[in-house]
């Protein structure tokens, strides 16, 4: 853990509002992106990202410094995300199916703009890139939640196995096994579509 991070955590514990804005600046994209890829909806991702940072503000005392701050933040985000998926399931929405539909509705409403596209592709490839991104996002959304999580953490967030194990509290063998099955499923889904 770096000196900057230790100082930041100390200031956060003192409820330093500037420190909290620094924290959001540092982590907003990571938290939002994870939630967007997991939930498949911009609105859901924005709402839950807010809740994640509110939780961090309220619960910073619970961070004991045994892991990196980013690991703890991801863990908070994953817990919120799982709760949200459960909540949606309880509302009789088939979670992934409903979110997939939401993603498709959003993409249609935005003239094909991919869900969560924060980056602007080159103009000559914009349409092709947007369509590909929509297809890939839909394939990810169709995975089982546990499989989706390891794919997002490993292949999009590019975290190490050690970090993924710390975030998910799973043994490495389980993470690898889920990732393997998720990648095989993506191979089948994307192989047919692309």
């Amino acid at each position: 853990v770096s000196l900057r991070e230790r100082l930041l955590v100390r200031r956060l514990r003192e409820r330093d509002e500037r420190a909290f804005r620094e924290l959001i600046d540092d982590y907003r994209d990571r938290v939002y992106s994870l939630l967007l890829r997991m939930l498949g909806s911009k609105e859901e991702a924005e709402d839950i990202a807010q809740e994640v940072f509110v939780t961090v503000f309220k619960s910073i005392e619970q961070f004991r410094g045994e892991s990196k701050l980013s690991t703890w933040l991801y863990r908070v985000a994953v817990n919120h995300c799982k709760n949200r998926v459960k909540y949606l399931a309880r509302r009789h929405d088939r979670a992934t199916g409903a979110l997939d539909e939401t993603a498709e509705r959003q993409a249609a409403a935005q003239g094909g703009e991919p869900v969560g596209a924060g980056r602007i592709p080159a103009p000559d490839r914009a349409l092709e890139g947007a369509e590909t991104e929509r297809i890939v996002q839909a394939a990810i959304a169709s995975l089982e939640e546990d499989h989706r999580l390891v794919v997002v953490l490993r292949d999009i967030e590019e975290l190490s196995y050690e970090e993924i194990c710390a975030i998910t509290s799973l043994p490495e063998g389980t993470v690898k096994s889920r990732l393997h099955r998720a990648r095989l499923a993506l191979k089948e889904k994307l192989g047919k579509l692309m």
Partner: protein, 119 residues
Amino acid sequence: MAQAEGQDEHAPFENDFSDYYDGTLQADRRAALEAHLGACERCRREYEKLREAVAQVALLGRAAAPRDLDDRVAQTIHRRSAGRFFGRRAFGDRVPFEVLAAIALAILIAVYLFARSSS
């Protein structure tokens, strides 16, 4: 039956695809897989499909959060804390302490110089 036997023949190699892609496969199994990929067109094609699928997922990259997320979080905390946090900030909260100290020092010096010139 023959098809099942055929699949069984490839399954042990296919089970190693993900670790092979990550570069975490043990050396002996990596060597065995590479030898098999060299000889088996089906597995070579399947591995290439997996590699391409993972590459497409990676290309999604990290999405950018809304720029006003910090303000929205601050407003939520302000509301839920009944105004205890992230309220309207006083001058002293907006201006760094160093700047305030420099202004105070400049005022003191000005007062001192004025008093001295008056006397």
